[in-house]
Symmetry: C2
Subunit: 363 residues, 2 copies
Amino acid sequence: MQGVLTGLRVIELSAFVAAPLGGAVMAAMGADVIRVDPLGGGIDARRWPVHEGRSLYWEGLNLDLRSERGQELAARLAADAGTVLTNLPARGPLEYERLRERRPDLVMLSITGRADGGAAVDYTVNAGIGFPWITGPEGHEGPVNHVLPAWDVATGHLAVAGVLAADRHRLLTGEGRLVRLSLADVALVVASHLGLLMEAQLVEQPRARFGNHVYGTFGRDFRTRDGRYVMVLALTPRQMRSLAEATGLPEGLIEADLSDEGERWRHRQELCDLVEPWIAERSLSEVRDAFERHQVLWGPYLTFKELLETDAQAWRPPATALDFGDAERAAALPAPSLGADTTQVLQEIGEDVEALRAAGVVP
Amino acid sequence: MQGVLTGLRVIELSAFVAAPLGGAVMAAMGADVIRVDPLGGGIDARRWPVHEGRSLYWEGLNLDLRSERGQELAARLAADAGTVLTNLPARGPLEYERLRERRPDLVMLSITGRADGGAAVDYTVNAGIGFPWITGPEGHEGPVNHVLPAWDVATGHLAVAGVLAADRHRLLTGEGRLVRLSLADVALVVASHLGLLMEAQLVEQPRARFGNHVYGTFGRDFRTRDGRYVMVLALTPRQMRSLAEATGLPEGLIEADLSDEGERWRHRQELCDLVEPWIAERSLSEVRDAFERHQVLWGPYLTFKELLETDAQAWRPPATALDFGDAERAAALPAPSLGADTTQVLQEIGEDVEALRAAGVVP
């Protein structure tokens, strides 16, 4: 595949979501990413969803990673490539210090659950970061989890940034390095960026659970006459005017300056009580017409099935959301089947694949 | 600030979350990121949360971006820096084609709501991508939004990867480029990576809303005797054995091979019925002891306040989750106040700041 990262080879030792996602993001930009899996597949080889007998996770090279010879082979591949992305414990010849002996400018990015190496996954990290207590319907008792593994997704993307930042430093100085990244730290830093930690530190009663209201401004879901749902927002004064015009809100009805987002938040219930019947009396199509005419900030709720109905190509989107302006953007491809690249990649570094096969190191 | 990106200067023209987050991530790696805001601040200058009169978003340079002279000045800064990150419409001399006349190897990454330039924000994108129908309590009617702006977060991180990938290409070939990225595409590609789009395409009845159950394996929240909640998972056969040992699950009670994750999913209710009373009879501290002894994959639910109580330093985490092994990791700093860098940055490119001030171009 062509792309801006052509020429960068990355060895991926991974399972589940964060590191495979990072690998897929780099591959979609043209990097030559080779996931090395143990014989029979990694611990995620049968992770749902599996379709047509094939995991959706990236798989390429198949080695007996439990044997010394298999580990040695993987280390040779890593040293040859010069760049490693992993979210598995590095053992034996695959430890950073030992790889660096073979390849002094190695860049290795290692993802863990917690920074201290403790076990954690997206779901346990999310439990510990506060969001389940402010997500979900008002009045609901107990935590509500995201279904989107948002910390895995953020970590996978940030891992790519980390690899490329370290690679940039290597290109300019010749120095490699080990980069560590934990899911727990990603969640903590993102919560900090979003202001939630400082809020919890400074405010006696930090924000509660507000259902689908968008905190600190105006935004919520509404139901149309034909039983569809729409998300409607007014993040800016202009968007507030658009919404007022589209739905015919009476001027001066609410004794507040709705150009101020804090006022929109404080008066959210009155605003909802005005917008709600207007939407409830109209079909999605009528709401769409009025909202588009007035440039209201809104969007319909769609199930995954409905999304595919609105766009028949949506189920096979581009391989990456980044559009580098290349004439043709590569479509997402299914991951290679387990071991598909084994023979070719090992031959490239001069290995006798038949001998390895006879020794049971490769299948 | 020192860091792997030292020497990279980025001009940021931005508002709200995705681009400012990307800028903050690069700044935390040592890049010199300068957010250029219009006089009086951007449209997010008063966006909540605001504490001690200061937005948590990144602000540095303050210009009259509505005037021709202010736009010209911003364009000079952008051409001088060579790298631009934006999620605002580029107008006049700040358009990519015009900037490229001044700086042929410019790298510019432009974030939009939709790829066609249509208005969309995290909340409308999320409405359209299916997750609100599978998030939230079982039996709940209507969509349930994430409170975490997960698409903004993913997009901000991916934007950094995009800038660094284009910069890598520039370092190796001398060529710059415009990189486009939309929130809607990020959501679509992530849903594709996670297998949800293919599932919706291939399966008659795609997954429903399963509350806090982790789809396709075993994982859910449970309540302890002292009213706390814990997230408990068994993603692997080993973790299933750990959970069985810790909670004393009777062998052979469930007529299924629980080493298979599909079986754990199908028997999730029976498993929950066994685990639930065991946890309900114990305090969080007793659960913790048993789970840690048996290496169960679990985590306590914490509110943002409780998180800070467990770790007094948590409210001021490192500036980035990426640990490049530097002796000391920089702590997150508050964003500079609006216009804090105006004089210094303009003097660096040889501007007469007093004259600009007299003309009303800078405050």
